[in-house]
């Protein structure tokens, strides 16, 4: 048993405070926007120059000049603003975003993140990830706990090319919520059905404890 991407996104959404400015990475992290707790209003930023956009339009109603960084159609909301790419990354690099939630190939206990290159083969693509990891006040990762081959993605040190050094502070995995504090993984929440030893065996670095570990309980989604 593990969390689906939607469930991980739901969990990540619970930590987003009212009024936060948030950038969601391409792919699964985009789902976080759907799970804003009632009564909280986060404002979403997309690298290609929109602040405060709304959810996807119905199929057939897309305007292809109104897209997010994943090139998916979005919509206007009252208070949306457009701006160019240099202003957009001024928001990122200048520390104006409260949270960025990104995908990961690997995360190290040092906070290092690898999410842009699987090595010398293939076509490398970085997009805005390297800017986001050094810009947002809080950088979190949403990822399966292990690779499709069952290998740990949470490691002592990344083996793939880095996106950023010492930048990640929280991991929402398919099995646990883990903080990165002082160069160590600190386990905060895990699936109730999963023993600490079982989780540790799926993890490539020591999971430290700092207080009680809560049950990671999410709705069916």
């Amino acid at each position: 048993m593990k969390l689906s991407p939607a469930q991980m996104a739901w969990r990540a959404a619970q930590d987003i405070t009212d009024g936060a400015y948030v950038n969601l990475g391409i792919g699964f992290p985009e789902m976080v926007a759907k799970f804003q707790p009632p009564g909280r209003e986060a404002i979403f930023h997309t690298e290609n120059g929109i602040l405060g956009f709304g959810e996807a339009p119905p199929a057939g109603a897309e305007d292809w000049d109104l897209i997010n960084a994943g090139k998916k159609a979005v919509t206007l909301k009252p208070g949306t603003a457009f701006f160019h790419h240099a202003d957009s990354f001024a928001m990122v690099r200048g520390g104006h975003l409260d949270v960025a939630i990104l995908g990961a190939y690997e995360v190290a206990e040092t906070g290092d993140l690898a999410n842009w290159s699987t090595g010398p083969k293939g076509v490398p693509a970085v997009g805005g990830a390297m800017d986001l990891v050094h810009g947002a006040r809080r950088v979190a990762v949403m990822t399966d706990h292990v690779t499709k081959d069952g290998k740990p993605k949470l490691l002592e040190r990344c083996t793939l090319p880095l996106t950023g050094v010492g930048c990640v502070t929280r991991v929402y995995s398919s099995h646990a919520v883990i903080d990165i504090v002082g160069g160590r993984f600190v386990l905060r929440e895990k699936l109730p059905s999963l023993s600490h030893d079982a989780l540790q065996s799926m993890t490539g670095a020591v999971l430290h404890l700092d207080g009680p570990v809560a049950d990671l309980v999410v709705p069916d989604l």
């Binding site: 209003e41 404002i43 810009g135």
Partner: protein
């Protein structure tokens, strides 16, 4: 999310002694006169804030706005490009008496340093001031055969801004050339407080027409008929109204 503030006193309540405060405007255009006067009111009532470092293109004109802030004795240092005006007596006297520090910065460098502060760029190179007294002590590097001066970002604890329309999310428009330094300072301050002529509902500002997106703004206060420094000076105004 509601960034609107009930009144001017609340708007300036967070400014403390020795802070760096960016104040928008070029001469009188875009100068947040009412916010500045509210800050003077607080100083008159409480003796604070003082020892401020103020960033503005100029150094005030006459005895209102920035000039009145200086005249009240609240400003320890001014970072500006052009401390001259039609009536610069307030700054000039204090400067020549050694009572206020001046950091003179070329205007384009001042604008770019503020933008850099807002954009997370700690340093950049410019041809401006190369070979002059204003480049003394700054690193010089040659790129493609030409010498450039390294300049550093400029940030502030607070910015006092004048805009035209604003909404509760902090989206702003400006009025003509009153835009000037205001959008840059919004980006570069930890807390940006804006006086607007009218607070409108989100969506009333066309998303294409937003000049400052709300992410750069922390507080918005409505000042329906803002004073123009030029008009006040032509009328011989002083602030506070009871002159020293």
């Amino acid at each position: 999310m509601d960034k609107t503030l009930p009144d001017l006193a609340t708007a300036v309540a967070g400014i403390r002694d020795d802070m760096t405060v960016m104040i928008g405007g070029f001469g009188g255009s875009g100068a947040p006169i009412e916010l500045i006067h509210a800050l003077i009111d607080r100083f008159v009532a409480t003796g604070h804030p003082r020892g401020l470092t103020v960033v503005n293109n100029n150094a005030g004109n006459g005895h209102v706005g920035l000039a009145a802030l200086i005249e009240a004795g609240m400003v320890a240092k001014l970072i500006c490009s052009f401390p001259r005006s039609a009536d610069p007596v307030v700054f000039t006297e204090r400067y020549l008496a050694g009572k206020i520090e001046l950091e003179l910065v070329p205007q384009g460098t001042l604008a770019e340093r503020i933008r850099a502060g807002g954009a997370g760029i700690p340093a950049f190179y410019t041809p401006t001031s190369y070979g002059t007294d204003l480049a003394k002590g700054k690193p010089v590097e040659v790129f493609e055969g030409r010498a450039y001066v390294q300049e550093r970002w400029l940030k502030a604890d607070c910015a006092l801004i004048k805009a035209h329309l604003g909404d509760r999310l902090g989206n702003l428009t400006y009025r003509m050339a009153a835009r000037n330094f205001n959008p840059l300072m919004c980006m570069a301050a930890a807390t940006t407080i804006v006086q607007v002529s009218r607070i409108v509902a989100p969506g009333e500002i066309d998303p294409e027409a937003v000049i400052t997106p709300g992410i750069f703004v922390q507080g918005v206060v409505e000042v329906p008929d803002p004073a123009q420094e030029e008009d006040l000076n032509r009328a011989g105004a002083r602030y506070p109204l009871v002159a020293a």
